[in-house]
């Protein structure tokens, strides 16, 4: 499959589906590319599957996804499922793998809507078997209805942690404890933003409802825990932590971790787009304008991949990027586009109102940003926080130098799991701001691809790789 399309949308979550449908309804030819076998993204994963658990367990918000998948099904969008994008070039070529073969398409416009990824929550022992991200636990629930019957502890902070706890309880699971790591000081800073948040009170009401559910099920809820440590002989056996100066230990066989989500910036980083450090959300945001347009001609961004806002915000941003790209493609008149964009932008502002409150309340505890020395931060290459600190001592001032020194970020995950942590450690060791420390240079492929697939793409017409021994290293 090679060829040219008008618009290619990467990611079939709320932002991607909305962008694709909106542009297609304006008359553009649209291809929607997604890794999963069905639309929905992470938030609405398996929404179209018959085997998934029902509304009573996953909640009303999840059911909203069905409206989006229905409009997608009714549209002219060409949806390529189970397709992994492994490189996007500034010339808007998209390289991807589908059914074990590589394909290349060129698009007149691209909307990147590849969503969020869970923020890593490194602490001593977090790599033990039995410890997983809450997101991975939620995937098991959404796709297979799997619920641990005993020995489950959830730890971390953020609204998603409470939501997953509630979903597990509704599905008949038992939770030994929910260990919250939200620092006490966060409540004070968040209070300032409460009036703004009350402009759109739905989010807060939902949060309080989730907490009430936990109380009803008499789940042990520990607050302001610090110095987390997962312990066990080759496998998780207990979670240790401090609270109010005292050590605690809770026996468990499954530990699900969550301290919020951050934009997945692998594609935008590989494109070398400028990224700004968001000091409140403590993450990188690829730079874009109010329409989602980037510095690169014809490349737009939408959804959590560009900044965390949640599913409803993502959907609105998707519509905006869809309309803006249709305008750029000439399938939507400029005047009409302006009116519709203005309407979507005003809804977006309304939906964004509670963000400062939520971001301040659930700002991650510093102990997970720059963890203790004996914590593995790069799981692929097993590099510890202490090793990163020693490379700083040798003269490394940035994350790209630590790659050379200790291979951190060079494994198959391409730094997704350690990129933020390594930069935070360097920033704190060298007392420099994150914006100055920077981030890994992300090199293709974004996802591993076989040499056979690559070789099949090769083009004899292009200048053959010259082999001159004079220049051998």
């Amino acid at each position: 499959m090679t060829g040219r399309v008008q618009l290619a949308v990467i990611g079939a979550g709320p932002a991607g589906m909305a962008a694709a449908v909106e542009a297609a309804n304006c008359g553009a030819s649209v291809v929607l590319i997604d890794e999963q076998p069905a639309p929905g993204g992470q938030i609405y994963r398996a929404i179209t599957s018959a085997a998934r658990p029902g509304k009573a367990i996953l909640g009303d918000d999840y059911e909203n996804g069905a409206k989006l998948t229905d409009t997608l099904a009714a549209s002219t969008v060409d949806h390529w499922t189970a397709t992994t994008v492994w490189q996007v070039t500034p010339e808007r070529e998209i390289y991807m793998t589908r059914d074990g073969a590589s394909h290349r398409i060129t698009a007149d416009a691209i909307v990147i809507a590849n969503g969020a990824t869970e923020r890593p929550m490194p602490f001593p022992g977090w790599t033990l078997p039995g410890v997983m991200t809450a997101g991975a636990g939620q995937i098991l629930l959404k796709t297979a209805g799997l619920v641990p019957q005993a020995g489950l502890v959830l730890a971390g902070s953020g609204p998603l942690l409470f939501l997953i706890a509630a979903q597990y309880l509704r599905a008949g699971g038992a939770i030994e404890a929910l260990v919250e790591t939200t620092p006490r000081s966060n409540y004070r800073t968040a209070l300032r933003h409460l009036p703004g948040a009350l402009r759109t009170p739905g989010y807060l009401r939902k949060g309080l409802g989730l907490l009430a559910e936990l109380r009803k099920h008499k789940v042990r809820h520990v607050k302001t825990a610090t110095r987390l440590q997962a312990v066990g002989d080759g496998r998780l056996q207990a979670l240790r932590f401090s609270r109010a100066g005292r050590q605690h230990e809770i026996a468990c066989t499954t530990l699900m971790l969550h301290i919020g989500v951050v934009p997945n910036v692998q594609i935008t980083r590989a494109l070398n787009l400028p990224h700004d450090w968001d000091a409140l959300q403590r993450c990188w945001r690829p730079r874009r304008d109010a329409d989602g347009a980037t510095e690169l001609d014809g490349i737009f961004l939408a959804g959590d991949g560009a900044g965390i806002g949640g599913a409803v915000v993502a959907e609105l941003e998707g519509r905006i990027a869809g309309l803006a790209s249709a305008r750029a493609l000439g399938t939507l008149e400029t005047g009409k586009a302006e009116a519709r964009l203005a309407a979507e932008r005003s809804r977006l502002a309304q939906e964004m109102a509670p963000r400062p409150f939520l971001d301040a309340l659930y700002a991650p505890s510093p102990e997970f940003l720059a963890p203790p020395d004996d914590t593995i931060v790069c799981r692929c290459e097993e590099v510890t926080a202490g090793q990163i600190r020693s490379y700083v001592g040798l003269g490394c001032i940035g994350p790209n130098q630590t790659k050379s020194f200790g291979r951190s970020g060079m494994g198959p995950c391409q730094g997704r799991l350690c990129g933020l942590t390594v930069s935070e450690i360097i920033a704190s060791e060298t007392a420099r701001p994150m914006a100055e420390v920077g981030y890994y240079r992300i090199r293709p492929p974004i996802k591993p691809v076989t040499l056979g697939e690559l070789a099949a793409l090769h083009d004899d017409q292009a200048a053959a790789a010259d082999r001159s021994l004079e220049n051998a290293s």
Partner: protein, 355 residues
């Protein structure tokens, strides 16, 4: 870093000024070969110098292990240069024969046809015509080497200043004044080892470094069972089992991106050489800029106009690291003119222009 380490070990107090995190760093794109075969066909002293460094490497690696506690994983089992056509094979053999003649026959290599090569490396594919094998060649882990050089340098008392790019070097009556980041620093002697940055810095101290970038692209694949003992210019397997594949030569200026077109060509060639690589996954690809002089050979110079300033630039920084630390540093510190070094002055380019 090799020169800095050598100088520090000679008892000089050395400070290395280093650029920011995303500087163009040829050392980070290195393939990791300690390679002799085929080099110096146009300048016999380059062949001699290269071989001398390769001979110094085992002792230097041992020294780094002791000084830095880092094993650079040096092995020198001999290297193979693989040919996919009769023309390639003929040119390759001819080049080595020429070198051998220029070096009075002291240049061990042999040509292996397909069947002979298959006995040595059973995994080669049917498209492989043959290879030249030379016992002089080897490889190491270039990232471990870099870390070892830094650590050994620090432990010997050397200083690293990562404050930013050196903007200005001003010769004084005795010594030099450097402006780096926002700081002014005085130094008795200055050694320019700034790679592509030397082109800008050299004229400030009466030297010339006509170097230009030449992009190479390299890829690394996931770890697989060890199958390849002998490194080649195209493919090598590292200590942990990962397979590294390169290399391209593209004159694209200061652009160190990697491009799918070139990467797919490199993959195509690698799979023809070793068909088992077909199902192996590429984990990472990157481009890096080589530091190339007009003839591809190193430039070593000491300034006549500004005594105390010298310049070191080369393309094969891994192969030559041992000679840089052990021989060249002595030349810079103690005025000992080593063999061959006069062949590498930038004056050779002036002569060519006059002629």
């Amino acid at each position: 870093m090799a020169v800095a380490l050598g100088l520090q070990q000679l008892g000089r107090q050395v400070t290395v000024f280093d650029e920011g995190d995303r500087a163009f760093r040829a050392s980070r794109g290195n393939f990791g070969l300690v390679w002799v075969q085929g080099k110096g066909a146009k300048l016999t002293d380059y062949a001699r110098w290269t071989r001398q460094s390769a001979d110094l490497w085992p002792a230097f690696a041992e020294e780094l292990r002791e000084a830095a506690g880092v094993d650079v994983e040096l092995t020198q089992p001999g290297g193979i240069d693989i040919f996919l056509s009769d023309d390639e094979a003929e040119a390759g053999v001819k080049r080595l024969q020429g070198l051998s003649a220029a070096l009075d026959g002291d240049y061990p290599f042999e040509y292996l046809g397909h069947n002979a090569l298959k006995r040595l490396v059973p995994e080669i594919g049917p498209d492989v015509v043959g290879a030249t094998y030379s016992p002089m060649d080897g490889h190491l882990n270039p990232l471990y080497m870099l870390r070892a050089l830094y650590a050994a340098f620090r432990r010997a008392g050397g200083q690293i200043d990562s404050g930013g790019t050196v903007q200005q070097i001003e010769p004084l009556g005795t010594g030099f004044r450097l402006q780096a980041g926002g700081n002014m620093i005085h130094a008795d002697k200055v050694v320019l080892c700034a790679g592509l940055g030397n082109a800008r810095l050299a004229p400030m101290v009466g030297l010339d470094a006509p170097v230009e970038p030449l992009r190479g692209q390299v890829m690394v694949c996931e770890r697989i069972r060890p199958f390849l003992k002998f490194p080649s210019v195209q493919v090598r397997q590292v200590g942990e089992g990962a397979v590294q594949i390169g290399d391209s030569h593209e004159d694209v200026g200061f652009d160190d991106a990697s491009t799918p077109r070139v990467i797919s060509q490199i993959a195509h060639r690698a799979v023809r050489i070793y068909p088992l690589l077909e199902h192996v996954r590429m984990v990472r690809s990157w481009g890096s800029l080589r530091v190339m002089s007009p003839d591809g050979h190193p430039i070593y110079d000491r300034s006549v106009q500004c005594p105390g300033a010298s310049l070191v630039t080369c393309h094969s920084g891994v192969t030559l690291a041992a000679a840089h630390a052990k021989i060249l540093a002595r030349w810079i510190a103690e005025d000992q003119q080593p063999e061959f070094v006069e062949s590498f002055s930038a004056k050779r380019f002036d002569v060519r222009q006059v002629a």
